[in-house]
């Protein structure tokens, strides 16, 4: 009985008696969810355009953040560093297409997936070698993002909104709108969707598969840069960032592998869900449940709605 009370009633009583804490938790979950969504977005872009499940997306986020900070430390102005990082990602996209994807055309999806794991290791080794593995702070102010926080007093307490988190949410929304327009209105976007539908048909109407792959990897790189800046602002820039990349998998399961808005909404569900669960139900289990809670939600989805909320119904069930 006591256990039932602790599970079913006590957390809600706590939510009701400290509403400011509850709102703070919601906000934190919302911001974390946006960032999970951004990482998942990188996965979705590449999966949509080439059917490759790109395991290296989290490490691209780390690479973006790390190279940006390192360029800045070399004395290059912040905005020029951003441009340099973009150039780096374009070169990387081109190399990946030329050296890996082009060699593996027509291979099974599993093989392509494993090759991106190999790529992950190459990037980890190279990035640690060149930029060093020491955690460093993200150059938020130098990039012109506001710092400090907004305080909103309520119910004898107060809720803090970090300015950088607000910027992250705003920029995430802008980026999703731009991507949605890019995918549906521009010529390249139509090309991307055509490639995703059918490689051969796309080739036969004159769409260059290789070019499309370079573009989509580059766009995923831009998404990684944005994610890297904001995630780096919340915690230090280090290789520990890639562990959050594993959270993108449950996000994809919930949102669906092929849906841009699904990635963001899945991210929000995971972010909010795990924050609330950790704060109100976590102590019952000895805290630290954030590590696996997302996967449990994903498992439930897999068993009852395997294509996710917005995914195409392509999944093959056993």
């Amino acid at each position: 009985m006591e256990i039932l009370y602790a599970i079913l009633i006590a957390p809600f009583v706590e939510m009701g008696s400290y509403p400011d804490l509850f709102i703070q938790a919601l906000w934190d979950g919302f911001v974390a969810g946006t960032l999970y969504g951004l990482i998942a977005l990188g996965f979705v872009l590449i999966f949509k355009a080439s059917g490759v499940f790109n395991f290296s997306q989290p490490i691209l986020v780390v690479l973006a953040a790390l190279s940006l900070v390192s360029f800045y430390k070399m004395g290059i102005p912040a905005w020029i560093s951003v441009i340099l990082v973009l150039i780096l990602f374009y070169v990387l996209a081109w190399l990946v297409e030329r050296l890996i994807l082009r060699q593996l055309v027509n291979q099974d999806g599993n093989i392509l997936f494993m090759s991106t794991i190999g790529l992950t290791f190459i990037i980890i080794g190279a990035a640690q070698w060149i930029f060093g593995g020491v955690p460093s702070a993200m150059i938020v102010n130098e990039l012109g993002f506001p710092n400090g926080s907004l305080e909103w007093p309520m119910f004898d307490g107060g809720v803090y909104f970090e300015m950088i988190d607000i910027s992250a949410a705003v920029i995430a929304v802008i980026m999703i709108v731009i991507l949605a327009v890019f995918f549906s209105k521009t010529k390249i976007g139509r090309g991307l969707r055509a490639v995703a539908d059918d490689h051969q048909a796309a080739l036969s109407v004159g769409i260059s598969l290789n070019q499309i792959w370079v573009i989509v990897w580059f766009v995923a790189g831009i998404v990684a840069l944005v994610t890297g800046i904001f995630w780096g602002a919340r915690s230090d820039v280090s290789f520990a960032l890639q562990i959050i990349g594993f959270k993108a998998l449950p996000v994809l399961i919930i949102g669906g592998f092929t849906s841009i808005q699904g990635a963001i909404i899945g991210g929000l569900i995971i972010g909010l869900g795990e924050k609330i669960f950790e704060i109100y139900w976590g102590p019952l289990l000895g805290s630290g449940v954030e590590g696996w809670f997302a996967y449990v939600i994903a498992l439930v989805f897999l068993l009852y709605r395997p294509q996710g909320l917005f995914g195409d119904k392509l999944i093959e069930r056993v």
Partner: protein
């Protein structure tokens, strides 16, 4: 020339079905066993110190071969992908530790094998989602197992007897008057025990795979619907694959802690290790026992040798060599996938075919 089957006649079915029907194979295996049991303990590997040979190369390679065999049974033979290998090794290690504290007088080998059974049960529980989903989706289910178990290894203090360090540690264990495990044990004794277990487990695996259960795994892997139509039950086939594979992985986890590292914390079982074991299977070759040996040896030994040679011969610092070996591993995976997606085992097969015909081209 070197390798041919002409003139080797069989007069009984039993001989046809033997594990090594060819005389060349029998001789080859016998030579390998003699090298492993006699030559390496006496002479070591030329150019490397004995301590280094045992502690950094032979014992870990044998242990990881058992892991790779286990994962290969699941991934290569039954076609179910898993990224929870690291955590399942942890289950083996922690359960072996608990069994040893509850029954202090029990022989350590029996503890290790019992921990394999415990892991098999845990593996079956986390294998349940495979009945409904497959492919990438199963990765998520096994990652759930990985992260949940990692959390349990930290938070459930009962698992490490409530000690302050939060890790598990081996104590001296005797068997037939010899200290076989723990800080005072001799590397050579541990080597022989690990080697013997490896030989026995390989023998078991090769027979199970050739038998009814193994063939039902392969049918499920190749086409699950067709397999179901001709009477293979997916439930038993998949769960038995998870159980069997976890049994091996659990044993290797227990061996890793009590016969190699001596002590371990949760970091020894994290997700990056799961990836390393996956690489061993991929590079070695999916669905091949020989491949498991080659994959484990290559993925483990090459980075160790790179680091050692870089340090002693060229004087590079450890940080550079560490990164170099990570890059090397990544490049090796990509190259193997491009050149021969079926891994080293396929290359070995091609070599054998060539040896059959040598010196003629066909």
């Amino acid at each position: 020339m070197f390798y041919r089957e002409t003139g080797q006649f069989k007069s009984k079915y039993k001989e046809e079905l033997a594990a090594f029907p060819l005389a060349e194979d029998k001789v080859g295996i016998a030579i390998l066993l003699v090298i492993a049991y006699v030559f390496i303990p006496i002479f070591g590997i030329p150019g490397l110190s004995f301590e280094f040979t045992m502690g950094a190369i032979m014992i870990p390679v044998f242990i990881f071969t058992i892991t790779t065999l286990g994962l290969n049974i699941l991934l290569g033979f039954a076609g179910q992908i898993s990224l929870g290998t690291g955590a399942f090794m942890g289950v083996g290690a922690y359960s072996c530790y608990k069994i040893m504290t509850i029954f202090p007088d029990l022989n350590i080998i029996i503890c290790v094998i019992l921990s394999g059974f415990v892991t098999a049960i845990v593996g079956m529980i986390f294998g349940l989602p495979s009945l409904k989903i497959k492919g990438f989706y199963l990765i998520v289910a096994t990652l759930a197992a990985q992260f949940f178990l990692e959390w349990a290894f930290i938070r459930v203090a009962w698992l490490y007897n409530y000690n302050d360090s939060g890790g598990i540690e081996g104590t001296n264990k005797e068997m037939f008057g010899l200290i076989v495990s723990g800080p005072q044990s001799d590397a050579l004794t541990r080597y022989f025990i690990v080697l013997t277990l490896l030989v026995l487990l390989t023998w078991l695996a090769s027979n199970v795979i050739r038998g009814r259960i193994g063939r039902s795994w392969m049918m499920i892997r190749d086409m699950d619907i067709a397999a179901e139509l001709i009477g293979v039950r997916p439930l038993t086939a998949k769960l038995s694959a998870f159980a069997f594979s976890s049994f091996y992985i659990g044993i290797s986890g227990a061996l890793m802690v009590f016969f190699w590292l001596g002590a371990a914390e949760v970091e020894s079982f994290d997700v990056s290790h799961s990836f390393t074991y996956l690489f061993m299977v991929i590079i070695g070759g999916l669905g091949s026992i020989t491949g498991s040996y080659m994959g484990a040896a290559l993925v483990w030994v090459i980075p160790v040798l790179i680091k050692e040679i870089g340090k002693t011969a060229f004087g590079f610092d450890a940080f550079v060599m560490e990164n170099f070996s990570i890059i090397f591993l990544g490049v090796a995976i990509v190259v193997i996938l491009i050149v021969e997606p079926h891994g080293l085992a396929r290359l070995w097969q091609i070599t054998k075919q060539k040896l059959r015909l040598w010196p003629f081209p066909y």
